[in-house]
Amino acid sequence: MLEVRLYLAQRASAAIMAPLVLIHLGVMIYTIQGGVDAAEILERTRGSFFWGANYGLFVIAVSVHAAIGLRNILREWLSLRGIGLAIISWIFFAGLLMAGLRAVAAVVIA
Amino acid sequence: MKFQTIKTDVLILGSGGAGLFAALHASQANPDLDITIAVKGLLGKSGCTRMVQGGYNVALSPGDSVERHFMDTINGGKWLPDQDMAMRLCQTAVTRVQELENELGCFFDRNDDGSLHHKAFAGQTFDRTVHKGDLTGIEIISRLMEQVRALSVNMMEEHRALALLPSRDGEELAGVLLVDMRSGEFRVVRAKTVLMATGGGPTMYRYHTPSGDKSMDGLAMALRLGLGLRDMEMVQFHPTGLLAGRDTRMTGTVLEEGLRGAGGHLLDGSGERFMLNYDDLGERATRDIVSRAIYAEMRAGRTTPNGGVYIAMSHLGPELVAKKFPGMVKRCADCGFDLAAGRVEVVPTAHYFMGGVVVTADTRTAMPGLFVAGEDAGGAHGANRLGGNGVANSTVFGGIAGDEMALQASDQQHWADFDEAFVEAEIERSLSPFRQAAGDINGIRDRLLDVMWDDVGVLRDADGLSRAQLELTRLKSELHASGLADNNRVFNLSWHDWLNLNSLIEVSEVIAGAALSRENSRGAHYREDYPQVGSLEESYFTVAQSNQEQISVERQPVVFSIVKPGESLI
């Protein structure tokens, strides 16, 4: 059953990310011209519920998604199994989630 | 020589339709039985049941009847079939097809309204052949194989049966000597009951259809045990085998009957149609007539580069041919031929062996404990097997054998003792090629294929048959003086080639002997010196037996237990 859950979580997170990433890519290409500076970015994002939700959701989804993806790779390419595999995947998930949420906080809240 | 001994309740040799059905039924009848299947190839992947294309005869469609199926079988077999067996075949085919569908999960082709589709097959007065496209055998054997692999039976794959072992007192069967082909080790399996379902297979002819693992081992073993073999002259030839040169295993494989039915033309080497010179139906005449006509053309030298004739379909329109026979077109293309637009060389090819061990309708033999079913058993088809009755035969009687063996093995308390010296002698016999200097096995094989094709083939006469007997005797002693170029017993195919040849030559001698003994022409057996059918009322079948290396053939009158010539059940 574990694999079913992981599979569904990975596909669901992928489906969530798809539009977010499309937006992100669009915005990036749009804003990059002439260089970006911090103020510009932060002006757009600070205090914006839209961007907060957007990035927040992305961070959660990507942490789930990438941790599961990495788990598959570690298992298949490095033959990691059992508890070791679980620990690494969870650490990656938690690390990514924390770093991500911190970044969101940085660009949205402060 | 050391050998391992194993004990089991039910031992089955072969995993075609007969072997697998026996395992399934024995296990269903008594799940506590210890069942072992030993097979020369992989379980379910060897043998001819897989190769069935056309389909399965069964009287299931409205308007058809078991009696009609029976009458077609008797007429097709030229009144030689054992009528009790034929009746059992036609009756049980009905339950067997329902079993295949409902319990095993086969799904045969349907009409649009969801009812079973029945197609026409040559020699039958009703459309009664159920099928799955033109790959019926794959459907049947795959479903069977899945079921059997899911049972807890012992599988001895790539184990070749070498000898049937009588009990010390010779009153019953004690077991079977086998060699594990993968390791070269010998094993004796002691069993309360043994089914021999190794599937005959006339692969001693230059051109033949059966799978490469079939080499008449079963009949050779039965012969050595002293059992009677009936109808041994009856070798069915399929008129259109692919001809692609001597050095390819594709040569001899079947090109579908439907090609002729759909209007394909047979052309001699110069491109002329010839079938109308032999029969008003032309290419649509029955298998035996077309085979004889092609054989006659070949003998007259009007042949293609490889020595056969052509089949041409292109006049029907290449697109149509490609659409109607995709499997055949693809298969020919894989071999480098364009069936749809070009010509393909064909030749009659040995297809099926009607002869076999004398058995009762419940698969028992003269040796208590030994059961025989499928192509190894003689009697159900007489002089000719109807297309579609082959797989019916193996699945019907395989199942019956399973039921019977379960009954006997459940009751029987003892395992008979075998004779160690007998086993030692059989092992020695099989190892003899390792003691000889390397010989020309390929040359012996070639000569066997040629002599059987030329002199014991589609057209026969006394001179040719006697010539063949002499050559077969020579070949036998040459083989026995020939050794192998590789002395490792592990998965040594050359050793098994040697053993195959040994079985084939032994059975070929019987075929030639029986053919010489039948002085008339019936079904698959055609004597140019005795072209008459002979009196139906006085029909006889041949029974061959081996006594001290001598083959004797006697004639026994056919018992018309259900219908007499001139009568009919319908």
Binding site: M1, L2, E76 | S46, R96, E101, D113, G245, R249, C335
Partner: protein, 230 residues
Amino acid sequence: MPQQSSQTILDVVTWIQRHLDAGLSYRFACRVGMCGSCAMMVNGIPRWTCRTHVNKVMRDNSLTIEPLRNLPLIKDLACDMSEFFEKWTDSKGYFQGSTTRHDPVSTLSPNSPQRRVADAATECINCAICYASCDVVNWNRDYLGPAALNRAWSLQNDERDSASAERLSVVAGDAGCHQCHSQQGCATYCPNELNPTASIAGLKRMVAKAYVRGELGAGGKGRQGPESDA
């Protein structure tokens, strides 16, 4: 080695056994593409050797013939196919009906969408070519593999079968359909042009639906991955 106009890889192997190396081990039976016994790696690609013409695969006048990948070797060119078939059984790749031999054959339209799906996946000759072409099989020795899952999918669409819930929980197990990454070697090389990728995708959908509805059994008795709970 003499070249002939009609010559398959199996013929080449046979010729070598008959003329050069009498001890050479390989396997075949039907010689016409029906038994699936003769598969080998030909120039690195898994193929049915009895139906592969030499001209089609010859590169620079040379051929490399090796035993099938992903299966234990017995000797030379012959592999042990046991695990392939054990997985077939483990994935409940066999029919369980609800009627018997004493009942009439079911009346079922051959044209219903479900029947077509079941039929499309049925002409498998268990040659293990797909199994050899799939890297996941190599990376995860428990993976049931394309052929077994393809069979399971066919059965899941057979309305006469009565074991679909059980089978679904097995193929949803840790060695089941979710291990497939759609590499599609199976569908690319299957000599019968079957499409295990599509079958496995179908199973994934079916499992997802059952999971969402809470209908998925607890994994059945089938193969468990090495880390059933991580």
